[in-house]
Symmetry: C2
Amino acid sequence: MPTLDVKKKEVASKKVKPSGLPICEYQERGHKWVLENQTKEVVQREHNSGILVVEVTDPKQQVYMFHCNNVTVQIKGGKFKSMIVDSCENCNVVFDTVISSFEMVNCKKIQVQTTGICPVFGIDKTIGCTMFLSEQTLGITQFTTSHSGEMNVSFPDGSGDQKEVPIPEQFVHKLVNGSVVSEVSELYH
Amino acid sequence: MPTLDVKKKEVASKKVKPSGLPICEYQERGHKWVLENQTKEVVQREHNSGILVVEVTDPKQQVYMFHCNNVTVQIKGGKFKSMIVDSCENCNVVFDTVISSFEMVNCKKIQVQTTGICPVFGIDKTIGCTMFLSEQTLGITQFTTSHSGEMNVSFPDGSGDQKEVPIPEQFVHKLVNGSVVSEVSELYH
């Protein structure tokens, strides 16, 4: 059935497909770890592992992850400044603590776990992300969202169980005395 | 400079470019007006006018506008059921009253004016829309938004002037006693 084939091709072409050379390097200038075009196959071949491990050595360091697909990244070494995940799909990231924020932009299907503290998760133009919080960061973490959907947060509920709740993606606005008053859609009530 | 040319081409290819045959017809089944692949040039050629006028004749009628670019549509005849603007760019729509809603999805740069009443504007996956409200609909209209940005609402401020305010697109969420509490970003405070 040629029609079906064409449709499949179209859908596939919209996915994030790493094309350039894989990069995993530390750049002195900017104190920045750069991970680009990483895939499960690249990590397996170059690191002989299912997990790409990055070892931060200074709280000033940042991590920038770009154009990666189907890869699990673990940031070891404790506290670091911030992390940006840009144009990635089907990726998992585990880290301990970031000082400022963990941001996702133009992503699909990202899972992130903080085992320490993450003050802010920034989510922009992203469809599908789940954030796993530690007990420790539970009362601290804020989520800043725009142009995004299918967001969930999973956290220990205090009685030994894990709880998952959605982050609202639909809002209702009204004009009241010339100002806009915004509320979460009643989908979430 | 060939590099610049390539970039220009890339940007242009992302625009909504009507490709199929232009359609402007009333479908008995579904009581639906269908406008597809309309452009300024098509409207000028086929209707000898700068404005595509659709005349609704029954409140049961709906209007579906798809894949149009750089076109101004006026819905005459008063009250009708609803309108959907799907995958359109740089379009203007003027109508009197819809009974249920006016929806935009996958659009860019749309201007809409209601001269009567519009209970709900639904905005999904849309960047850039301005809604011009009548005095009459001011206290009634709600805006339901998701995955969208650059939204504005313009309305008579009661003293003869027009006022324009942005509709928030960034939100901040926190976990409070195991539930998500959401607020408009402080950008809008």
